[in-house]
Symmetry: C2
Subunit: 205 residues, 2 copies
Protein backbone atom coordinates (compact mmCIF):
# COMPACT_ATOMS: atom_id res chain seq x y z
CA UNK A 1 0.00 0.00 0.00
CA UNK A 2 0.92 3.62 0.27
CA UNK A 3 4.24 4.16 1.99
CA UNK A 4 4.32 7.91 2.31
CA UNK A 5 3.26 8.24 5.93
CA UNK A 6 4.22 10.25 7.89
CA UNK A 7 6.59 12.35 5.81
CA UNK A 8 5.17 12.24 2.34
CA UNK A 9 1.65 13.40 3.04
CA UNK A 10 -0.05 14.81 0.00
CA UNK A 11 -0.67 18.50 0.15
CA UNK A 12 -4.05 19.75 -0.92
CA UNK A 13 -4.14 23.44 -1.77
CA UNK A 14 -6.74 25.48 0.01
CA UNK A 15 -8.54 28.07 -2.02
CA UNK A 16 -9.55 30.59 0.57
CA UNK A 17 -8.06 33.05 2.98
CA UNK A 18 -6.62 30.20 5.04
CA UNK A 19 -3.95 29.35 2.51
CA UNK A 20 -1.10 29.96 4.91
CA UNK A 21 -1.46 26.40 6.05
CA UNK A 22 1.44 24.44 7.43
CA UNK A 23 1.42 20.69 7.22
CA UNK A 24 4.55 20.10 9.25
CA UNK A 25 4.22 19.26 12.89
CA UNK A 26 4.87 22.32 15.00
CA UNK A 27 8.11 21.81 16.91
CA UNK A 28 8.80 25.27 18.25
CA UNK A 29 8.27 25.99 21.91
CA UNK A 30 5.34 28.18 22.82
CA UNK A 31 4.84 29.85 26.14
CA UNK A 32 2.47 27.34 27.68
CA UNK A 33 3.69 24.03 26.34
CA UNK A 34 7.39 24.71 26.87
CA UNK A 35 8.51 22.95 23.72
CA UNK A 36 6.61 19.73 24.16
CA UNK A 37 5.05 18.21 21.11
CA UNK A 38 1.33 17.55 21.18
CA UNK A 39 2.15 13.85 21.25
CA UNK A 40 4.32 14.36 24.33
CA UNK A 41 1.53 16.22 26.07
CA UNK A 42 -0.99 13.49 25.31
CA UNK A 43 1.42 10.75 26.37
CA UNK A 44 1.95 12.57 29.65
CA UNK A 45 -1.81 12.81 30.21
CA UNK A 46 -2.30 9.14 29.33
CA UNK A 47 0.42 8.05 31.75
CA UNK A 48 -1.23 10.11 34.45
CA UNK A 49 -4.65 8.61 33.67
CA UNK A 50 -3.20 5.10 33.76
CA UNK A 51 -1.31 5.62 37.01
CA UNK A 52 -4.39 7.12 38.65
CA UNK A 53 -6.81 4.52 37.28
CA UNK A 54 -8.75 7.22 35.45
CA UNK A 55 -8.57 5.63 32.02
CA UNK A 56 -6.50 3.26 29.89
CA UNK A 57 -5.62 5.03 26.65
CA UNK A 58 -2.59 4.32 24.49
CA UNK A 59 -1.13 5.60 21.27
CA UNK A 60 -0.95 2.92 18.62
CA UNK A 61 2.49 2.22 17.21
CA UNK A 62 3.22 3.55 13.73
CA UNK A 63 2.51 0.74 11.27
CA UNK A 64 5.63 -0.47 9.49
CA UNK A 65 6.13 -2.83 6.59
CA UNK A 66 9.21 -4.83 7.49
CA UNK A 67 11.24 -6.08 4.55
CA UNK A 68 14.58 -7.21 5.97
CA UNK A 69 15.62 -8.27 9.46
CA UNK A 70 19.09 -9.36 10.54
CA UNK A 71 19.95 -11.41 13.60
CA UNK A 72 23.46 -10.57 14.75
CA UNK A 73 24.71 -13.22 17.16
CA UNK A 74 24.19 -12.35 20.82
CA UNK A 75 22.32 -9.20 19.85
CA UNK A 76 18.76 -8.15 19.35
CA UNK A 77 17.20 -8.54 15.91
CA UNK A 78 17.87 -5.49 13.75
CA UNK A 79 15.40 -4.27 11.17
CA UNK A 80 17.51 -3.22 8.17
CA UNK A 81 14.79 -2.31 5.68
CA UNK A 82 11.25 -1.20 6.40
CA UNK A 83 8.69 1.32 5.18
CA UNK A 84 6.01 3.44 6.75
CA UNK A 85 2.49 2.26 6.03
CA UNK A 86 -0.72 4.24 6.07
CA UNK A 87 -2.60 3.57 9.30
CA UNK A 88 -6.16 2.30 8.94
CA UNK A 89 -7.32 3.81 12.22
CA UNK A 90 -6.76 6.84 14.41
CA UNK A 91 -3.70 7.03 16.63
CA UNK A 92 -5.28 6.78 20.07
CA UNK A 93 -7.85 4.52 21.65
CA UNK A 94 -8.76 2.96 24.95
CA UNK A 95 -11.37 2.70 27.67
CA UNK A 96 -12.70 5.29 30.09
CA UNK A 97 -15.49 4.57 32.59
CA UNK A 98 -16.75 1.72 30.45
CA UNK A 99 -16.74 3.80 27.25
CA UNK A 100 -14.65 3.10 24.19
CA UNK A 101 -12.59 6.21 23.44
CA UNK A 102 -11.06 6.85 20.02
CA UNK A 103 -9.36 9.99 18.77
CA UNK A 104 -6.66 11.53 16.70
CA UNK A 105 -4.40 14.44 17.61
CA UNK A 106 -4.03 17.25 15.10
CA UNK A 107 -2.02 20.43 15.04
CA UNK A 108 -2.17 23.59 12.98
CA UNK A 109 -0.30 26.88 12.95
CA UNK A 110 -3.33 28.51 11.42
CA UNK A 111 -4.86 31.13 13.71
CA UNK A 112 -8.42 31.21 12.45
CA UNK A 113 -9.35 27.74 11.28
CA UNK A 114 -8.40 24.08 11.19
CA UNK A 115 -7.71 22.83 7.65
CA UNK A 116 -9.44 19.54 6.93
CA UNK A 117 -6.48 18.53 4.80
CA UNK A 118 -5.00 17.44 8.14
CA UNK A 119 -7.56 14.66 8.35
CA UNK A 120 -7.33 11.55 6.20
CA UNK A 121 -10.28 9.72 4.65
CA UNK A 122 -9.34 6.47 6.43
CA UNK A 123 -9.56 8.29 9.75
CA UNK A 124 -13.03 9.59 8.92
CA UNK A 125 -14.16 6.11 7.88
CA UNK A 126 -12.73 4.58 11.01
CA UNK A 127 -14.39 7.10 13.33
CA UNK A 128 -17.71 6.68 11.51
CA UNK A 129 -17.56 2.93 12.10
CA UNK A 130 -16.46 3.27 15.72
CA UNK A 131 -19.17 5.88 16.43
CA UNK A 132 -21.78 3.55 14.95
CA UNK A 133 -20.68 0.93 17.52
CA UNK A 134 -21.20 3.38 20.35
CA UNK A 135 -17.63 4.56 20.65
CA UNK A 136 -16.78 8.13 21.67
CA UNK A 137 -14.77 9.65 18.84
CA UNK A 138 -13.22 13.07 18.56
CA UNK A 139 -10.28 15.13 17.39
CA UNK A 140 -7.91 16.75 19.84
CA UNK A 141 -6.75 19.86 17.99
CA UNK A 142 -3.94 22.17 18.97
CA UNK A 143 -3.82 25.65 17.48
CA UNK A 144 -0.08 25.94 18.04
CA UNK A 145 0.30 29.62 17.38
CA UNK A 146 -2.52 30.44 19.76
CA UNK A 147 -1.57 27.77 22.34
CA UNK A 148 -5.21 26.69 22.42
CA UNK A 149 -6.50 23.13 22.51
CA UNK A 150 -9.94 21.80 21.69
CA UNK A 151 -11.79 18.53 21.93
CA UNK A 152 -14.00 18.43 18.86
CA UNK A 153 -16.67 15.70 18.67
CA UNK A 154 -16.47 13.56 15.59
CA UNK A 155 -20.01 14.30 14.43
CA UNK A 156 -19.10 17.98 13.95
CA UNK A 157 -15.94 17.01 12.08
CA UNK A 158 -17.94 14.61 9.95
CA UNK A 159 -20.44 17.30 9.04
CA UNK A 160 -17.66 19.63 7.96
CA UNK A 161 -15.99 16.79 6.07
CA UNK A 162 -19.17 15.94 4.20
CA UNK A 163 -19.70 19.59 3.37
CA UNK A 164 -16.16 19.71 2.07
CA UNK A 165 -16.91 16.83 -0.25
CA UNK A 166 -19.54 18.94 -1.94
CA UNK A 167 -17.12 21.83 -2.20
CA UNK A 168 -18.61 24.05 0.47
CA UNK A 169 -15.90 23.99 3.10
CA UNK A 170 -12.23 23.21 3.36
CA UNK A 171 -11.58 24.03 6.97
CA UNK A 172 -13.38 24.33 10.31
CA UNK A 173 -13.29 27.91 11.65
CA UNK A 174 -11.98 28.54 15.14
CA UNK A 175 -15.37 30.00 15.98
CA UNK A 176 -16.94 26.58 15.36
CA UNK A 177 -14.44 25.04 17.77
CA UNK A 178 -15.43 27.67 20.32
CA UNK A 179 -19.13 26.99 19.76
CA UNK A 180 -19.32 23.20 19.18
CA UNK A 181 -16.15 21.90 20.76
CA UNK A 182 -14.81 22.30 24.26
CA UNK A 183 -11.56 24.04 25.03
CA UNK A 184 -8.98 22.12 27.06
CA UNK A 185 -7.74 24.62 29.59
CA UNK A 186 -4.22 24.18 30.92
CA UNK A 187 -4.30 22.13 34.08
CA UNK A 188 -1.76 21.08 36.66
CA UNK A 189 -1.73 17.29 36.55
CA UNK A 190 -2.02 16.33 33.82
CA UNK A 191 -1.29 19.56 32.03
CA UNK A 192 -3.48 18.59 29.09
CA UNK A 193 -6.49 17.12 30.87
CA UNK A 194 -8.45 16.32 27.73
CA UNK A 195 -10.72 13.77 29.42
CA UNK A 196 -11.98 16.43 31.78
CA UNK A 197 -12.89 18.55 28.76
CA UNK A 198 -14.54 15.55 27.13
CA UNK A 199 -16.60 14.92 30.25
CA UNK A 200 -17.76 18.53 30.24
CA UNK A 201 -18.84 18.17 26.66
CA UNK A 202 -20.53 14.81 27.13
CA UNK A 203 -22.20 14.72 30.53
CA UNK A 204 -23.10 11.09 29.89
CA UNK A 205 -19.51 10.36 30.88
CA UNK B 1 -18.71 -1.73 37.76
CA UNK B 2 -15.64 -3.21 36.24
CA UNK B 3 -16.30 -6.91 36.32
CA UNK B 4 -18.94 -7.96 33.86
CA UNK B 5 -18.35 -11.65 34.21
CA UNK B 6 -20.82 -13.85 36.06
CA UNK B 7 -20.39 -13.57 39.78
CA UNK B 8 -19.26 -16.32 42.03
CA UNK B 9 -17.13 -18.14 39.53
CA UNK B 10 -13.62 -18.77 40.72
CA UNK B 11 -10.65 -20.28 39.05
CA UNK B 12 -10.05 -23.73 40.51
CA UNK B 13 -6.85 -25.55 39.75
CA UNK B 14 -7.26 -29.03 38.34
CA UNK B 15 -4.33 -31.26 39.11
CA UNK B 16 -3.35 -32.76 35.81
CA UNK B 17 0.38 -33.24 35.55
CA UNK B 18 1.48 -31.25 32.57
CA UNK B 19 4.99 -30.23 31.84
CA UNK B 20 5.42 -30.71 28.08
CA UNK B 21 5.14 -27.01 27.48
CA UNK B 22 5.65 -25.33 24.11
CA UNK B 23 6.10 -21.62 23.77
CA UNK B 24 6.71 -21.24 20.05
CA UNK B 25 3.95 -20.16 17.72
CA UNK B 26 2.49 -23.09 15.84
CA UNK B 27 3.11 -22.62 12.11
CA UNK B 28 2.09 -26.01 10.68
CA UNK B 29 -1.23 -26.44 8.95
CA UNK B 30 -3.91 -28.42 10.73
CA UNK B 31 -6.91 -30.02 9.12
CA UNK B 32 -9.49 -27.38 9.93
CA UNK B 33 -7.56 -24.17 9.60
CA UNK B 34 -5.89 -25.08 6.30
CA UNK B 35 -2.55 -23.56 7.19
CA UNK B 36 -3.75 -20.17 8.28
CA UNK B 37 -2.04 -18.64 11.25
CA UNK B 38 -4.19 -17.65 14.20
CA UNK B 39 -3.47 -14.03 13.32
CA UNK B 40 -4.78 -14.59 9.78
CA UNK B 41 -7.95 -16.12 11.15
CA UNK B 42 -8.55 -13.24 13.52
CA UNK B 43 -7.80 -10.66 10.81
CA UNK B 44 -10.33 -12.38 8.59
CA UNK B 45 -12.96 -12.27 11.33
CA UNK B 46 -12.21 -8.61 12.09
CA UNK B 47 -12.54 -7.66 8.42
CA UNK B 48 -15.87 -9.45 8.31
CA UNK B 49 -17.06 -7.70 11.49
CA UNK B 50 -16.00 -4.32 10.10
CA UNK B 51 -17.63 -4.85 6.70
CA UNK B 52 -20.87 -6.02 8.34
CA UNK B 53 -20.90 -3.29 10.98
CA UNK B 54 -20.74 -5.88 13.74
CA UNK B 55 -17.69 -4.47 15.50
CA UNK B 56 -14.58 -2.37 14.93
CA UNK B 57 -11.58 -4.35 16.16
CA UNK B 58 -8.02 -3.99 14.90
CA UNK B 59 -4.66 -5.53 15.63
CA UNK B 60 -2.18 -3.00 16.87
CA UNK B 61 1.01 -2.59 14.86
CA UNK B 62 4.18 -4.08 16.29
CA UNK B 63 6.00 -1.34 18.21
CA UNK B 64 9.33 -0.41 16.66
CA UNK B 65 12.14 1.81 17.85
CA UNK B 66 13.31 3.63 14.74
CA UNK B 67 16.98 4.66 14.76
CA UNK B 68 17.83 5.57 11.18
CA UNK B 69 15.66 6.70 8.27
CA UNK B 70 16.87 7.59 4.78
CA UNK B 71 15.01 9.71 2.24
CA UNK B 72 16.04 8.69 -1.26
CA UNK B 73 15.00 11.34 -3.73
CA UNK B 74 11.65 10.69 -5.41
CA UNK B 75 11.13 7.64 -3.24
CA UNK B 76 9.44 6.80 -0.01
CA UNK B 77 11.33 7.10 3.25
CA UNK B 78 13.28 3.94 4.04
CA UNK B 79 13.87 2.80 7.61
CA UNK B 80 17.45 1.51 7.66
CA UNK B 81 17.84 0.68 11.33
CA UNK B 82 15.14 -0.15 13.84
CA UNK B 83 14.49 -2.52 16.72
CA UNK B 84 11.52 -4.41 18.06
CA UNK B 85 10.13 -3.05 21.30
CA UNK B 86 8.12 -4.83 23.96
CA UNK B 87 4.45 -3.92 23.62
CA UNK B 88 2.81 -2.39 26.68
CA UNK B 89 -0.66 -3.65 25.81
CA UNK B 90 -2.39 -6.61 24.22
CA UNK B 91 -2.46 -6.95 20.45
CA UNK B 92 -6.17 -6.42 19.75
CA UNK B 93 -8.74 -3.88 20.83
CA UNK B 94 -11.82 -2.12 19.61
CA UNK B 95 -15.50 -1.51 20.17
CA UNK B 96 -18.47 -3.88 19.97
CA UNK B 97 -22.01 -2.80 20.77
CA UNK B 98 -20.73 0.05 22.91
CA UNK B 99 -18.32 -2.16 24.83
CA UNK B 100 -14.57 -1.79 24.86
CA UNK B 101 -13.05 -5.10 23.74
CA UNK B 102 -9.43 -6.01 24.50
CA UNK B 103 -7.72 -9.33 23.97
CA UNK B 104 -4.62 -11.19 23.03
CA UNK B 105 -4.30 -14.23 20.78
CA UNK B 106 -2.29 -17.19 22.05
CA UNK B 107 -1.39 -20.51 20.61
CA UNK B 108 -0.07 -23.75 22.07
CA UNK B 109 0.79 -27.20 20.71
CA UNK B 110 0.12 -28.64 24.11
CA UNK B 111 -2.85 -31.01 24.12
CA UNK B 112 -3.88 -30.85 27.74
CA UNK B 113 -3.15 -27.37 29.04
CA UNK B 114 -2.22 -23.79 28.17
CA UNK B 115 1.18 -22.76 29.59
CA UNK B 116 1.07 -19.39 31.29
CA UNK B 117 4.60 -18.74 30.06
CA UNK B 118 2.81 -17.62 26.88
CA UNK B 119 1.41 -14.62 28.72
CA UNK B 120 3.57 -11.64 29.60
CA UNK B 121 3.32 -9.64 32.81
CA UNK B 122 2.69 -6.39 30.90
CA UNK B 123 -0.32 -8.03 29.24
CA UNK B 124 -1.74 -9.07 32.60
CA UNK B 125 -1.22 -5.57 33.99
CA UNK B 126 -2.84 -4.01 30.94
CA UNK B 127 -5.89 -6.27 31.09
CA UNK B 128 -6.27 -5.66 34.81
CA UNK B 129 -6.34 -1.90 34.19
CA UNK B 130 -8.71 -2.17 31.22
CA UNK B 131 -11.05 -4.51 33.15
CA UNK B 132 -11.12 -2.04 36.02
CA UNK B 133 -12.37 0.59 33.53
CA UNK B 134 -15.21 -1.69 32.44
CA UNK B 135 -13.49 -3.15 29.41
CA UNK B 136 -14.16 -6.72 28.28
CA UNK B 137 -10.82 -8.53 28.34
CA UNK B 138 -10.01 -12.09 27.38
CA UNK B 139 -7.55 -14.43 25.75
CA UNK B 140 -8.34 -16.14 22.47
CA UNK B 141 -6.45 -19.42 22.73
CA UNK B 142 -5.82 -21.93 19.98
CA UNK B 143 -4.84 -25.45 20.90
CA UNK B 144 -3.19 -26.04 17.54
CA UNK B 145 -2.73 -29.77 17.75
CA UNK B 146 -6.37 -30.23 18.70
CA UNK B 147 -7.68 -27.54 16.33
CA UNK B 148 -9.74 -26.16 19.20
CA UNK B 149 -10.25 -22.49 20.06
CA UNK B 150 -11.45 -20.91 23.27
CA UNK B 151 -12.41 -17.49 24.51
CA UNK B 152 -11.17 -17.35 28.09
CA UNK B 153 -12.30 -14.42 30.27
CA UNK B 154 -9.48 -12.44 31.77
CA UNK B 155 -10.65 -12.92 35.36
CA UNK B 156 -10.03 -16.66 35.06
CA UNK B 157 -6.62 -16.06 33.52
CA UNK B 158 -5.80 -13.59 36.25
CA UNK B 159 -6.72 -16.03 39.00
CA UNK B 160 -4.50 -18.69 37.43
CA UNK B 161 -1.73 -16.13 37.01
CA UNK B 162 -1.92 -15.11 40.65
CA UNK B 163 -1.90 -18.75 41.70
CA UNK B 164 1.20 -19.23 39.57
CA UNK B 165 2.91 -16.41 41.39
CA UNK B 166 2.68 -18.37 44.58
CA UNK B 167 4.14 -21.40 42.88
CA UNK B 168 0.98 -23.44 42.64
CA UNK B 169 0.36 -23.60 38.92
CA UNK B 170 2.19 -23.01 35.67
CA UNK B 171 -0.57 -23.71 33.16
CA UNK B 172 -4.34 -23.67 32.77
CA UNK B 173 -5.70 -27.16 32.05
CA UNK B 174 -7.85 -27.73 28.97
CA UNK B 175 -10.58 -28.90 31.34
CA UNK B 176 -10.69 -25.40 32.84
CA UNK B 177 -11.09 -23.93 29.35
CA UNK B 178 -13.98 -26.36 28.80
CA UNK B 179 -15.57 -25.40 32.10
CA UNK B 180 -14.89 -21.64 32.45
CA UNK B 181 -14.24 -20.51 28.89
CA UNK B 182 -16.36 -20.88 25.79
CA UNK B 183 -15.27 -22.87 22.78
CA UNK B 184 -15.29 -21.07 19.42
CA UNK B 185 -16.86 -23.57 17.06
CA UNK B 186 -15.89 -23.36 13.40
CA UNK B 187 -18.35 -21.16 11.57
CA UNK B 188 -18.89 -20.23 7.94
CA UNK B 189 -18.49 -16.46 7.85
CA UNK B 190 -16.36 -15.59 9.58
CA UNK B 191 -14.73 -18.95 10.16
CA UNK B 192 -13.50 -17.91 13.61
CA UNK B 193 -16.56 -16.13 14.98
CA UNK B 194 -15.04 -15.32 18.34
CA UNK B 195 -17.49 -12.51 19.11
CA UNK B 196 -20.38 -14.95 18.89
CA UNK B 197 -18.61 -17.11 21.46
CA UNK B 198 -17.98 -14.07 23.63
CA UNK B 199 -21.65 -13.14 23.48
CA UNK B 200 -22.62 -16.65 24.55
CA UNK B 201 -20.30 -16.38 27.51
CA UNK B 202 -21.38 -12.88 28.48
CA UNK B 203 -25.10 -12.53 27.79
CA UNK B 204 -24.87 -8.86 28.78
CA UNK B 205 -23.44 -8.34 25.29
Amino acid sequence: MAIRYPNGRKYTPINNADSSVKKKIHKEPSYSNRGKTLEDEIDEANKFYLANQTAVIHKKPVPIQIVKVEYPSRSAAVIKEAYFRTPSTTDYNGVYKGHYIDFDAKETKNKTSFPLSNVHPHQINHMRAASAQGGICFLLVRFSTLSRYFVMPFDIVDQAWTAMDSGERKSIPLTVFERDGIEVKESYMPQLDYLKALTTLLPIL
